[in-house]
Symmetry: C2
Subunit: 231 residues, 2 copies
């Protein structure tokens, strides 16, 4: 049934081998289009240029994507899956933590390094720039990216609260606070300045460690004298 749906989506019945080729082409067009959008912005990008970059005909691009807006939308929403997968993987390790502060700090570092990827930052800026024109896309990215990552973290924190490593009433607020302390400054700097002076890995790791210490001081179950936010 899954195969049937996928073939229908392409508008023609395909054998498994052909489908794979079609999937590969789909990915190649998305990858080429991402590069063009990031380099030229949404308005200045044409389907023709994307076709040239992908090494396919314009007709092939239109066979996969009805128009530029839908192609852009698919690229944007694909990034939310990437981010959520990373967070899910790393958050899972917190479920069997032997050293909570170390593991939470690792999660922070990983999250920050994924979010500060130059291409992802540029796509993020494109979503914001086009939010008035494509409010539905912005809303989807917010819900599937932002809110889903927060929900993943919240359920992780909830589990840690059950294991008495954290003390909290509202795990979603706690997730919100961790991410806010981690990302507010570096992501905003990149948004406003076009990431013209990217921070070193060591500097980003330092931000992750500081956010982790403050988070544990605020939400950890140990007495504050045992934590390090203000020491």
């Amino acid at each position: 049934m899954g195969t049937g749906l996928s073939s229908t989506k392409m508008g023609i019945a395909m054998k498994p081998q052909e489908e794979k080729r079609s999937d590969r082409k789909h990915r190649e067009i998305m990858s080429a289009a991402t590069k063009v959008f990031v380099a030229k912005g949404y308005d200045s990008t044409s389907m023709e240029e994307i076709a040239t970059k992908a090494g396919v005909s314009k007709q092939t691009v239109y066979k996969h994507f009805a128009d530029k807006e839908r192609l852009f939308g698919e690229i944007i929403l694909a990034t939310t899956h990437q981010i959520d997968e990373v967070i899910g993987l790393v958050a899972e390790t917190l479920g069997h933590t032997k050293d909570f502060e170390k593991d939470l700090s690792q999660l922070g570092r990983k999250f920050l390094s994924v979010l500060m990827d130059a291409q992802l930052l540029k796509l993020r800026r494109l979503v914001i720039a086009n939010a008035d024109r494509m409010p539905q896309l912005g809303r989807s990215w917010y819900e599937r990216g932002f809110e889903r990552v927060l929900a993943t973290l919240a359920s992780c924190f909830q589990r840690l609260a059950q294991e008495r490593l954290l003390k909290l009433v509202d795990p979603l607020i706690a997730a919100n606070h961790f991410v806010g302390m981690l990302l507010w400054i570096p992501v905003n700097e990149a948004m406003f300045t076009g990431n013209d002076r990217p921070r070193s890995k060591a500097a980003l790791d330092g931000l992750a460690d500081a956010a982790t210490r403050a988070f544990i001081a605020a939400y950890g179950s140990k007495p504050k004298s045992a934590t390090k936010a203000g020491t």
Copy 2:
């Protein structure tokens, strides 16, 4: 000397009374231009339309602002003064606080309500949208807006640490954490979705109170059992 400089900037020698009129016109053009930029975006705004909206000639607009980019830049940078003034005023009250949590929460509420102003959010989005084209403007807004607000808060937190209401080593990191917990979610939601579902004042106040509780739990000097982040 100040008057001399100002007259020179206008390219003509003016008497005090004329200067005042010129200042008023300058403000009126900026106000009209802000409305047009916010409604139509940077690209679709023309100096002609701004002149019409301001009820002046195009020539008058050009007498005050050499080109569209400089007019836009002046509008954007003026908002950073507004924000910093508000924060400075409110932070000052923390210097004589009788009820630290209540006053910090007031600061959070005020800051959030200023930042969530619909017009300011739209200008913020315009800066991000044009950061590639005008990196210098984005950098100035980041430094004069972002970093200055953080510096104001940091010196406020530093004073509170001297009064033993806070316990911290790096006041700038602490300021960064307070603002991040406060703003990450509502500001980003507004950036991505065009603020299509603005939060109520009560909801924003709730965010401010939660950020305040977590901040005091992390950085307050009282033992954690006396604070409320996780209770």
